[in-house]
C-alpha cells in the first residue's frame, strides 16, 4: 500500500512510517506568526526558556492591523519589534510588506515538501505550493519558540477532483464556494484535502491559492496541490532553500474521493452568516450592498486587480455604496500601480488602502455599522467579522464584487455583457 502526501511528510519528520490517526511529534520547517507574536512572546517567556530554539525557522509578518489603529495595537507592534531584535529573528516583515499568506510565498518560504505551521487558520494557503501547511494556536507557537516541536495527528486524506473547464468569468473562488456549499462547513473536518483534476491544472498559481486558503473553511487540516510547471516557475528565483516535491503514491489509500464538474458552474455567493450558506448568484441578485471589499489573503492578487480594474475602467462606483481596495502585498500594490489599475480604481471612486488584513477581522479600515451589508472577496462571513454583529457579510469572486460596485447591489456580470 502506498503513502499519501501527508503520511510521507509527517513520516519523514517523525523518522518512521506513519498511518492516519497516529499522533507524532515533529519539527516544522517554517513557523509563521503575525501581530499575535506579542502575545506569543509573553507566553514564551512564561515557559522559562531564554532563547528561541531556531530563529531562522520563524517568519513574522505584521499585517493584521497595520498601521496601528490605536495605542494598544501600536504597543503590540512595538513589543514584537523588541522581541525580534532580542531573539535575532531575521525573517521579520514590518507593516509595509503585506498579508502574511501572500508574503511567505512571495519571499520563497512556502516550498514543496515543507512542513509549515502558522498561528493563523489560513496557513493552509501554502498547500498550493505543495507544502503540508496548517494553523496552530498561540500557545503552540510559544512552545515551538521554546522547543522547535509540535504534536500533529496524521490526517486521513480526501481527494477532490475538479473536472471540466470553467466558463468565462467563473473563477476558483466560485469553485471553492461550490465545494463549501455542497460539502458543508465540516465536510473536510480533520482531513488532508488534495485538490486535483483538469480544472485545477488549468488554474494560475494565484487562483489555486484561493482553494487552499479556504480549505480551513470546511474544516480541513490542510489543502494540497501537486506542484507542476507553473508552481516551479513561480518558485524559480524565489525559493529560499532546495526542496523536494512530495506527491501521494498512485496506490495510496484515500478516505474519500469527491468529484465536481465545473463546466456549467455559475458565479456563487456565500450568504450570511456561514461560509457554507452558498447560493448561485441568481438567488441573491439585486440585494443592496453598502460596501464592497476587494481585498484579503483570498482574492487581492494581481490577476484579481486586472479583472476588477477591467470592469471599473472609465466607470464609477455606485453612489449608494463605498468600495475599499486593499492589495494583498506591497509588490502587488506596486505592480497594480505600474499597470494603471490603482489609477483606474481611484478614479472610479474606490478608497485605496495599504496592504494588510484591513477590515477582514473587524479591526479597522472599513468596519460596518449596524444594518449595513458588505460584499467581500475575503473568506469569512461570520457574524461580527467586519466588526459589527448586526451587519451582514456576503462573499464572492472579485469579478462579481466589481460589477456589484457599479450597481450598488449584488449583480451578475452575465447581465452586463
Amino acid at each position: 500500500m502506498g503513502k499519501t502526501f501527508a503520511e510521507k511528510i509527517l513520516g519523514k519528520k517523525a523518522g518512521k512510517p506513519v498511518v492516519p490517526g497516529e499522533i507524532v511529534e515533529v519539527k516544522p520547517d517554517i513557523a509563521m506568526s503575525h501581530d499575535n507574536t506579542a502575545a506569543i512572546s509573553k507566553t514564551f517567556k512564561e515557559i522559562g526558556v531564554a532563547r528561541i530554539d531556531d530563529p531562522d525557522r520563524h517568519v513574522i509578518v505584521l499585517d493584521h492591523c497595520v498601521p496601528a489603529a490605536n495605542d494598544k495595537f501600536a504597543q503590540n507592534h512595538k513589543d514584537i519589534r523588541a522581541f525580534v531584535q532580542e531573539q535575532g529573528i531575521k525573517h521579520f516583515y514590518d507593516i509595509n510588506r503585506g498579508i502574511c499568506h501572500q508574503v511567505l510565498p512571495e519571499e520563497g518560504f512556502a516550498l514543496p515538501g515543507y512542513l509549515m505551521v502558522g498561528s493563523d487558520s489560513h496557513t493552509t494557503t501554502y498547500g498550493a505550493f505543495g507544502a503540508l501547511a496548517t494553523g496552530i494556536g498561540r500557545s503552540e507557537m510559544a512552545v515551538i519558540f521554546a522547543t522547535g516541536k509540535i504534536w500533529l495527528r496524521v490526517p486521513e486524506t480526501m481527494k477532490i477532483i475538479v473536472k471540466g473547464a470553467l466558463p468565462q468569468g467563473v473563477s476558483s473562488k466560485d469553485v471553492m464556494l461550490k465545494i463549501m456549499g455542497d460539502l458543508s462547513a465540516d465536510g473536510g473536518l480533520y482531513k488532508s484535502v488534495w485538490f486535483t483534476g483538469p480544472a485545477i491544472d488549468a488554474m494560475s498559481v494565484a487562483s489555486r491559492m484561493v482553494l487552499t486558503n479556504m480549505a480551513v473553511e470546511f474544516g480541513a487540516k490542510n489543502g494540497y496541490m501537486e506542484p507542476d510547471a507553473k508552481t516551479l516557475a513561480f518558485l524559480k528565483d524565489r525559493a529560499r532553500a532546495p526542496f523536494e516535491v512530495v506527491k501521494s503514491d498512485a496506490d495510496a489509500e484515500f478516505e474519500s474521493v469527491v468529484e465536481f464538474d465545473v463546466s456549467d458552474l455559475e458565479p456563487m455567493i456565500a450568504c450570511p452568516h456561514t461560509v457554507d450558506n452558498v447560493k448561485p448568484i441568481g438567488a441573491v441578485k439585486g440585494t443592496k450592498v453598502d460596501q464592497i471589499f476587494f481585498g484579503s489573503c483570498t482574492n487581492a492578487r494581481i490577476e484579481d486587480f486586472e479583472i476588477v480594474a477591467g470592469v471599473l475602467k472609465g466607470k464609477k462606483v455606485h453612489p449608494s455604496c463605498r468600495m475599499i481596495v486593499i492589495p494583498a502585498s506591497q509588490p502587488i500594490f506596486l505592480e497594480a500601480l505600474a499597470k494603471g489599475y490603482i489609477q483606474i480604481l481611484a478614479e472610479a471612486g474606490a478608497t485605496i488602502v495599504n496592504s494588510g488584513c484591513g477590515p477582514c477581522m473587524g479591526n479597522h479600515e472599513g468596519i460596518l455599522a449596524p444594518g449595513e451589508r458588505v460584499l467581500s472577496t475575503s473568506n469569512r462571513n461570520f457574524k461580527g467579522r467586519f466588526g459589527c454583529k448586526d451587519a451582514e457579510v456576503y462573499l464572492s469572486s472579485p469579478l462579481i464584487a466589481a460589477v456589484s460596485a457599479l450597481t450598488g447591489e449584488i449583480s451578475d456580470f452575465r447581465d452586463l455583457l
Binding site: I23, D35, N36, A38, A39, T43, E46, I47, G48, V49, H64, C65, N70, K72, F73, N76, S119, D120, S121, T123, G135, I136, G137, R138, S139, E140, A142, V143, A146, T147, W151, R153, A185, D186, L189, Y190, E217, G219, K221, T274, D276, M361, G362, N363, I367, R380, F382, K383, G384, R385, G387, K389
Partner: protein
C-alpha cells in the same frame, strides 16, 4: 477535577470562534477577567453575565470552527466553564481546549439529549455524562495528548517537561 457539575448552555451547529471571541478584541483584550466578560458576545449576550463555575457549553457539529484564536477556548475557561461538549469540534478548537486544560468532549448525541439550563454531571475518569435524558459515554482523549490535559494545559506541561517549573 474528575467531576464537573453545572448547568447546560445549549447551542447549535458550526458555532464559530468569531462569535465566541470577536476578532476585534484579539489584540486588545488580554486580561483573563476582561476576556471572560466578552465570552460569547456575538452569540448570546446573557452568557457572560449569568455563567457560573462548572457550567457546561454544549453544541452540535464543528464547534469552534473558523479562526485559530485560542482566546475562544481560554475565555470560556476564564468564565468558569467546566467543559465543552459537542458532536464534533474543529481541529484548531479541539487543540486549543486541550492546550487551555479545558475538557473538550465529543459526544455523538450532543446537543439533542441536553436541555438548556438543566444541571448535568460529567465524570472525566469514567468518561460519562449524566443528564435528565440518561447517562452517555464519551470516548477518552487520545493517549498522546492526555498528559498535556492532565498537567493543566500546554504551557504548564511544557514547563514540567523542560524542568522550568522548579
Amino acid at each position: 477535577m474528575a467531576i464537573i457539575k453545572g448547568r447546560v448552555w445549549k447551542y447549535g451547529d458550526d458555532v464559530n470562534t468569531d462569535v465566541i471571541f470577536p476578532g476585534k478584541y484579539t489584540y486588545t483584550v488580554t486580561d483573563p477577567q476582561e476576556m471572560a466578560k466578552i465570552a460569547m458576545e456575538d452569540l448570546d449576550s446573557d452568557f457572560a453575565k449569568q455563567v457560573q463555575p462548572g457550567d457546561v457549553v454544549v453544541g452540535g457539529k464543528n464547534f469552534g470552527c473558523g479562526s485559530s484564536r485560542e482566546q475562544a477556548a481560554f475565555c470560556l475557561k476564564y468564565a468558569g466553564v467546566g467543559a465543552v461538549v459537542a458532536r464534533s469540534f474543529s481541529r484548531l478548537y479541539f487543540r486549543n481546549c486541550i492546550n487551555a486544560g479545558l475538557p473538550a468532549l465529543t459526544l455523538p448525541e450532543s446537543p439533542d439529549v441536553f436541555k438548556a439550563g438543566e444541571t448535568i454531571e460529567i465524570d472525566l475518569s469514567a468518561g460519562t455524562i449524566r443528564c435528565e435524558a440518561g447517562v452517555f459515554k464519551f470516548p477518552p482523549l487520545p493517549e498522546a495528548v492526555i498528559g498535556i490535559f492532565n498537567d493543566g494545559g500546554l504551557i504548564p506541561h511544557t514547563r514540567k517537561i523542560l524542568g522550568t517549573d522548579r
